[in-house]
């Protein structure tokens, strides 16, 4: 039952509304109300949407590929790591730098298929648990994380503590006798390559789908 009682016709003309046009079904009051609401929505969206896009934009920004030289090829032995420092985020000083452990590829240790990008092994010092900086402890031949006790072996595979996957690696190349460090990639427990993931995100089994790599770090 319409609240208009006997005026339940859809046509304004039949409902005795003054000035009604033939065939008109929307009253002017209703039209004004709708127009005002629509104008309000447009006004709010015109500042809210750009601001929202501005705030979440970085999520979809693609990271640039950079290569950074760390030293001549004969600086790196094939049985021990040399700590080198590269800049991940330029312009913010020490906070944008990270330590990378580099050594020459050793066919006796490294069983992953050799190609142009892993003639030198570059292990990220970013712990795969929650991102603290691991250090290579010579005496123990282990990478050890100071925060929550993650322990990794010579190849960066987890041997103890909470980390969910091996340490990340960087692509390397040799240009003019100099070793250069390129984009990051993650590895699963079989040391197979994956697009880079953040710390704390497993990539064995279902993890690789539950923790997708994002456009911002896709390589």
């Amino acid at each position: 039952m319409s609240k208009h009682g006997q005026h339940s016709s859809p046509y304004t003309e039949d409902r005795n509304i003054p000035g009604a046009f033939e065939g008109e079904t929307v009253t002017r009051r209703r039209f004004m109300t709708g127009t005002t609401h629509a104008a309000g929505v447009v006004a709010a969206a015109s500042f809210a949407l750009p601001a929202l896009g501005f705030a979440i934009g970085p999520i979809f920004k693609e990271a640039p590929h950079t290569w950074e030289g760390v030293g001549p090829t004969d600086m790196f032995p094939d049985n021990d790591y040399v700590p080198t420092v590269i800049t991940l985020t330029p312009g913010i000083g020490e906070a944008g730098k990270t330590t990378v452990y580099v050594r020459k590829r050793n066919p006796l240790l490294d069983t992953d298929p050799p190609d142009r990008t892993n003639q030198f092994i570059a292990i990220s010092s970013r712990c795969a648990h929650l991102g603290c900086p691991v250090r290579w402890v010579d005496a123990a031949e282990r990478f050890i994380c100071p925060c929550h006790g993650g322990v990794y072996d010579l190849l960066g595979r987890r041997v103890g503590g909470p980390p969910v996957r091996p340490l990340d690696r960087f692509y390397t190349r040799v240009v003019g006798g100099e070793v250069q460090i390129g984009p990051r990639y993650s590895v699963n427990s079989e040391l197979e390559r994956f697009n880079p993931r953040d710390p704390g995100e497993p990539i064995d089994g279902i993890g690789q789908f539950a923790y997708p790599s994002r456009p911002s770090i896709q390589k």
Binding site: P58, A63, A95, G131, P199, G200, E201, Y211, P212, R214
Partner: protein
């Protein structure tokens, strides 16, 4: 109603005292001192005539409280004063702070702590006050829980309170980065990565917090803006809603009070 005892007159020199009115003189106060005496109440009256705020003030402040109200009921106010302290000290700290990740942030905090007059004290109030606020929030929440004060009709106030708790945690997390020392930096790395461990949405959430895939130039200013603009505004607004509901619904009696059995007394109570 018994009249309150009259206060003794202040020791004013007799020259300044108003002469007693002559018998038969009209009771009109026209001298400037009379207007000055009335100044306060006439300003209040002027505002109230145009806003009707006095009703709202009476409604907020002169409420009936249940029998058995005790010191535990002050924890909410204590939390609010902790927030106000954080707000005031935070505004003054913001006058010195520079959200510059390449050394300026750390340097400005060092400057406040070591060189600014009372800087160490005000920064200390902000730093330790944050822990005080978190502790008070939990004590207030515990009081509400154990007194059953979250039950009908106060569920919405519990929900608002939980949102306020979460916002307080956001304040703690974002404020922790701002000194930009080693502890702040690595705690934020770890905290952001904990956010990233949520399946599917987690990686995007940590990208949003960092403003990119790595801890970058905008991360610090992003945290600073969240810490001093976004969340304080939300907290202030929600505290307003929280207090409105407290005034509207009243406080609960403590659980150890039994309902009055005598129907006559119950009627008088209500």
């Amino acid at each position: 109603m018994a009249r309150a005892p009259k206060l003794p007159a202040p020791p004013v020199p007799s020259a300044l005292k108003a002469p007693p009115p002559r018998p038969g003189s009209p009771d009109i106060k026209t001298r400037p001192i009379d207007h000055a005496r009335e100044g306060g109440s006439s300003v209040v009256g002027w505002v109230d005539e145009r806003t009707s705020l006095s009703g709202a003030a009476r409604w907020t402040m002169f409420r009936k409280v249940p029998r058995g109200t005790n010191w535990f009921y002050t924890l909410g106010s204590a939390t609010m004063f902790a927030f106000l302290s954080q707000a005031v000290t935070g505004v003054f700290l913001a006058m010195f702070y520079k959200p510059d990740p390449s050394g300026g942030a750390y340097e400005s905090i060092r400057h406040v702590t070591n060189e600014v007059f009372l800087g160490q004290f005000v920064r200390g109030m902000h730093k330790w006050g944050s822990s005080v606020m978190v502790i008070l929030v939990f004590l207030h929440m515990g009081r509400t829980f154990f007194f059953g004060a979250y039950k009908y009709p106060r569920e919405l106030n519990w929900v608002i309170g939980v949102v306020l708790l979460i916002l307080t945690m956001v304040m703690s997390f974002t404020g922790y980065l701002l000194p930009f020392d080693q502890r702040a930096y690595w705690a934020t790395i770890v905290g952001v990565n904990i956010n990233g461990t949520g399946p599917l949405i987690g990686p995007y959430l940590s990208d949003f917090l960092r403003g990119g895939p790595e801890f970058g130039a905008t991360t610090l200013s992003r945290f600073y803006a969240i810490h001093m603009l976004l969340v304080p505004g939300l907290i202030a607004a929600l505290i307003g809603a929280h207090l409105y509901l407290v005034a509207k619904l009243g406080t609960t009696a403590p659980p150890w009070l039994k309902a009055e059995k005598n129907p006559d007394l119950r009627k008088a109570d209500a």
